[in-house]
């Protein structure tokens, strides 16, 4: 069974076509980079996968097709926007434990120790880097088939980045697939099995990372940039 299968996905928002004709199959046990410019639809694609946005077409996660059953197979922490700022980390963890039966508290303890998270701290007091670490710890503490991480590296320092990358290597379960979005591929290139590029309102490229290095003799970053060469200027 695939970790994720998307067929003929189409999504409109306020009469605006955001994604169309999206076809994607992800195998289990892979780490996949979801690349694309800001506003290309990476976050939208993630929200469609979890079912928090609704489009046309079919999305199947580890065999689950409805939004309700998919939610049990996907771990995604949508920027912790739902919590009020005065809440303490340990209260968020309690909330996760009560909402998700697959939340593994031992894993959370290991992750939070590794990432130096303090349960007594308030959400509003966290730096950007610590907030991302909390998102990683919460997301990877669930036991599911598919993990989604939305730009965990944007605006954080290199030490935090290293910690987050090591957490991903250490705590992504063997048969689970992790989809991680970023618009700067170099920082995650060594940990990727494959890349998926969202461009022109669809999934335009899906390739193996070592396949690109092997066949094109190119860095992932250069390959990614070459997809935009010669077309419209995007700056």
């Amino acid at each position: 069974m695939t970790a994720l299968t998307i067929k003929d996905l189409r999504y409109k928002h306020n009469q605006h076509l955001i994604l169309h004709d999206v076809q994607l199959e992800l195998a289990p046990g892979k780490i996949i980079g979801l690349l694309g410019e800001n506003g290309a639809g990476k976050t939208t694609l993630m929200r469609l996968i979890t079912g928090s946005a609704k489009g046309k077409g079919t999305i199947e996660v580890n065999g689950a097709t409805t939004a309700v059953t998919r939610k049990q197979q996907v771990s995604f922490t949508d920027h912790l926007n739902g919590f009020n700022s005065g809440i303490k980390l340990q209260q968020i963890v309690k909330f996760y434990q009560s909402v998700y039966p697959d939340f593994n508290s031992d894993r959370y303890q290991e992750l939070s120790t590794f990432l130096n998270l303090d349960g007594q701290q308030k959400l509003a007091a966290l730096s950007k880097g610590t907030r991302e670490k909390l998102i990683i710890a919460l997301t990877l503490s669930r036991q599911v088939a598919l993990y989604l991480l939305d730009e965990p590296f944007s605006g954080i320092d290199s030490m935090s980045r290293k910690k987050i990358i090591n957490s991903i290597i250490k705590w992504t379960p063997d048969n689970a697939t992790l989809l991680i979005s970023d618009h700067y591929v170099t920082e995650i290139a060594p940990i990727l099995d494959e890349i998926v590029v969202v461009k022109d309102q669809t999934v335009s490229v899906h390739k193996g990372a070592d396949e690109i290095r092997d066949q094109q003799g190119m860095e992932l970053e250069d390959y990614y940039e070459s997809l935009y060469a010669g077309g419209d200027t995007h700056d």
Partner: protein, 129 residues
């Protein structure tokens, strides 16, 4: 370890293992860390490490023991052959580049000898400093 992102990473991991064997950092019969630990040490994907190890096992450089882990081969003949291959690979790079400068084989040999002599002189100088 820093990787060259133009070269497949499983290939670079294999080269890394060969290098560690040649320098003696990995001794014959030594046990390698578990796959996930290696992935952490090198900051690379677990599947990529697995691919490199599978190829090293297939060619006999590593020996996999069920439930115990992966070990560097103790086969001295195989290690000697491996070393020879690595030397030839390095020489091939240098040779091709010199050949590309329109140097004949004789010129390449005499230049190499001159280079080694000069190095010796430089090393002696630095001792006297």
């Amino acid at each position: 370890m820093k990787f060259d992102d133009k070269v497949p990473i499983y290939y670079q991991i294999k080269q890394h293992v060969y290098h560690e064997m040649m320098t003696g950092a990995l001794q014959p019969g030594a046990k390698l860390p578990a796959v996930r630990q290696l992935a952490l040490d090198l900051t690379v994907n677990v599947n990529t490490v697995q691919r490199a190890l599978s190829e090293l096992i297939a060619e006999g450089t590593l020996v996999s023991q069920r439930g115990k882990g992966n070990f560097v081969t103790s086969d001295q003949e195989l290690i000697a052959r491996l070393k020879e291959t690595l030397i030839m690979t390095q020489l091939a790079v240098a040779y091709d580049q010199l050949h590309g400068l329109n140097m004949s084989d004789d010129e390449i040999i005499t230049s190499m000898q001159r280079y080694i002599k000069q190095r010796e002189v430089q090393t002696d100088d630095s001792i006297n400093d």
